[in-house]
């Protein structure tokens, strides 16, 4: 899933491997890297102490949430202050369909991401009528309204005490095995995001995100394309939220609150804008610090703040930029 396939050794590209075909090579899925990351994760799930297994599961769930957000920030040109609502709605979708509508549990779990996508369709339709910072403010407004409803409509949403007990936490599995479920779902989802970004649709989304005027003159209607981005992002965040709600066996209004919205933004910025890996890198660093440093050091957010400051000042392209530079150095700068 990295940006480049790894050529065997620098300079070993055979002449037959035409310069031109390498242009689209970077659109391929890097199966070797995918398999390696999965293997490391499985190893971690079954060998680490329980506390760190929980942290690892959170890292995976937030890697998906931040990757979905990254579709907006890095590719679709959508700035948002209200994306956590789609994360939270995933968890609420599960809880409400099961607890209030009496749906069977498997069906309720599948409903989570669909509920998020439907809300993204409705809110997206409103938001794409505006652009830039005005659109961002409207995403915040949509999220705040939904949060307020979740917080106050006690009979339906459980209010501030949320809903719990509708599913057994971690589906009754051991943390390690629930981690495997999360790993599989997250991996498939991120691979799907990769495919979308590198498909004709993804190219369209990137075109509109980078230069609305040029894209318009080429025939792309901005509103339609950004609305599609809303639904994809909503659905993917909904998957993450569903996994998170089932992980804890509960749901609270905070799952769609400003706190998670900011967490997502920090992860993507930390990971590095305009890079596919931003969400993954960001989630690993942010959630690791959140879960581990907070046990030793009360002011762990101070650590995050200092790191974010350092990234913004010294590597605006984030962790992805640092990784890219290391790769280039290892390759001896032989490739483009």
């Amino acid at each position: 899933m990295a940006n480049e396939p790894s050529p065997a050794t620098p300079g070993s590209l055979s002449p037959g491997n035409s310069h031109a075909m390498t242009m689209l090579d970077k659109y391929r899925i890097n199966w070797r890297l995918t398999a390696a990351l999965m293997a490391v994760s499985v190893l971690g799930l079954f060998t680490l102490p329980p506390l760190m297994v929980f942290a690892l599961i959170e890292v995976m769930i937030f890697a998906l949430f931040a990757s979905a957000l990254n579709l907006w920030l890095s590719y679709a040109g959508i700035l948002s202050f209200g994306h956590a609502v789609y994360f939270g709605l995933g968890a609420y979708g599960v809880a409400i369909t099961i607890e209030r509508f009496g749906w069977p549990m498997p069906l309720g779990i599948l409903a989570g991401p669909v509920v998020s996508a439907l809300f993204a369709l409705v809110f997206g339709f409103l938001c794409v009528q505006l652009t830039t910072i005005y659109m961002a403010m409207l995403t915040l407004a949509c999220a705040e309204v939904t949060y307020a409803v979740a917080f106050q409509w006690f009979d339906f949403t459980g209010g501030d005490s949320g809903i719990s007990g509708h599913v057994p936490a971690m589906l009754g599995l051991s943390p390690s095995w629930y981690g495997v479920v999360v790993l599989v779902v997250v991996t498939l989802s991120i691979l799907a995001l990769w495919r979308i970004v590198h498909s004709p649709l993804g190219l369209t989304i990137r075109a509109v995100g980078q230069n609305t005027i040029r894209a318009g003159a080429m025939g792309h209607g901005r509103k339609k394309v950004q609305l599609i981005s809303f639904v994809i992002m909503g659905f993917m965040s909904g998957i993450a939220g569903t996994l998170f709600g089932v992980f804890h066996g509960n749901v609270f209004p905070d799952y769609m609150g400003v706190g998670y919205t900011i967490d997502g933004l920090v992860m993507v910025l930390l990971g590095g804008l305009h890079s596919f890996g931003a969400g993954i890198y960001g989630a690993i660093v942010y959630k690791t610090l959140d879960n581990l440093v907070s046990h030793f050091f009360l002011y762990w957010q101070l650590v995050i703040g200092v790191i974010l400051l350092a990234v913004v000042l010294f590597s605006p392209s984030g962790i992805a930029g640092i990784v890219e530079r290391i790769k280039e150095r290892m390759r001896g700068g032989s490739d483009v």
Binding site: P200, L201, L203, Q210, R214
Partner: protein, 256 residues
């Protein structure tokens, strides 16, 4: 080369009548009347503030006109969205070249083909691979194949102008609107670019409407010249007629 043959030369394809556009109290276009024939290379010249760029922007759908009519190939072109204008076979470039700066040269051209394919919503990567041949061919024809892997932010101003032009051609337009195609380039570079553009345009029988400040370029390229002043068409004629016109010389060429 184009799938739809251009209208026979001499037939009017673009008619603008009584076109008005104001910004607050400033009237940028105060009733423009213009007829352009199929296959023609038409230059629009005029002093700063004459309304040339505004005209292009209203035709391209980037700005909405206040009043008037625009008809292209028998269809209404007035106050359409840019993507609708594009769908009608009208392509354009901008005064400051407009490309995807964080994509590679290759991806820019790929985007243009993707947009023109009509299957921009597809999830099939195979579709992109099928475009590869045509993308490289188009990059060759604008001499950018060597730079295919470079990020557009890192290439020169002139290369970006050429890329933008090539991307517009990829959508196989019947009418092309170019706003100062050679602005900000060196002398030799200008001539090379305009020659390249003319070659491609004539080969594909595209009708061209272009705004240009460089008089050299205008007389080198144009079949017919429209002079604008104060938001109106001031004079029209063959290059020879325009260069001999006393009034045009006074308002524009600065000859007393």
């Amino acid at each position: 080369m184009p799938e739809t043959p251009a209208a026979p030369p001499g037939e009017t394809v673009l008619t603008v009548s009584g076109l008005r556009k104001s910004f607050g109290r400033f009237m940028a276009l105060s009733g423009v009347d213009l007829k352009v024939r199929a296959g023609e290379v038409r230059a629009i010249i005029g002093p700063n503030g004459a309304g040339k760029t505004t005209l292009i922007n209203v035709l391209g759908g980037q700005l909405a006109g206040d009043a008037g009519r625009v008809v292209f190939a028998g269809k209404n072109l007035m106050n359409k969205y840019p993507h609708q204008v594009s769908a009608m076979g009208v392509g354009r470039t901008f005064q400051i070249s407009s490309t995807f700066r964080r994509m590679t040269v290759y991806e820019n051209m790929l985007s243009a083909h993707n947009a023109a394919s009509g299957r921009w919503f597809s999830l099939s990567t195979a579709l992109l691979r099928k475009m590869h041949g045509a993308v490289m061919e188009d990059l060759e024809s604008i001499h950018l194949a060597e730079l295919a892997g470079r990020v557009v932010d890192d290439i020169s101003h002139g290369d970006r102008k050429r890329l933008e032009f090539g991307m517009v051609l990829a959508s196989r337009p019947r009418l092309l609107l170019l706003d100062e195609p050679t602005a900000g380039m060196g002398l030799q570079e200008r001539h090379d670019l305009i020659d390249l553009m003319l070659r491609e345009i004539r080969e594909r029988k595209i009708t061209l409407l272009f705004v240009e400040h460089d008089i050299d370029i205008v007389f080198r390229a144009a079949d017919y010249i429209t002079v604008m002043a104060n938001g109106k068409v001031f004079a029209e004629g063959l290059p020879g007629e325009i260069s001999d016109n006393q009034e045009v010389q006074e308002i524009y060429l600065g000859v007393k």
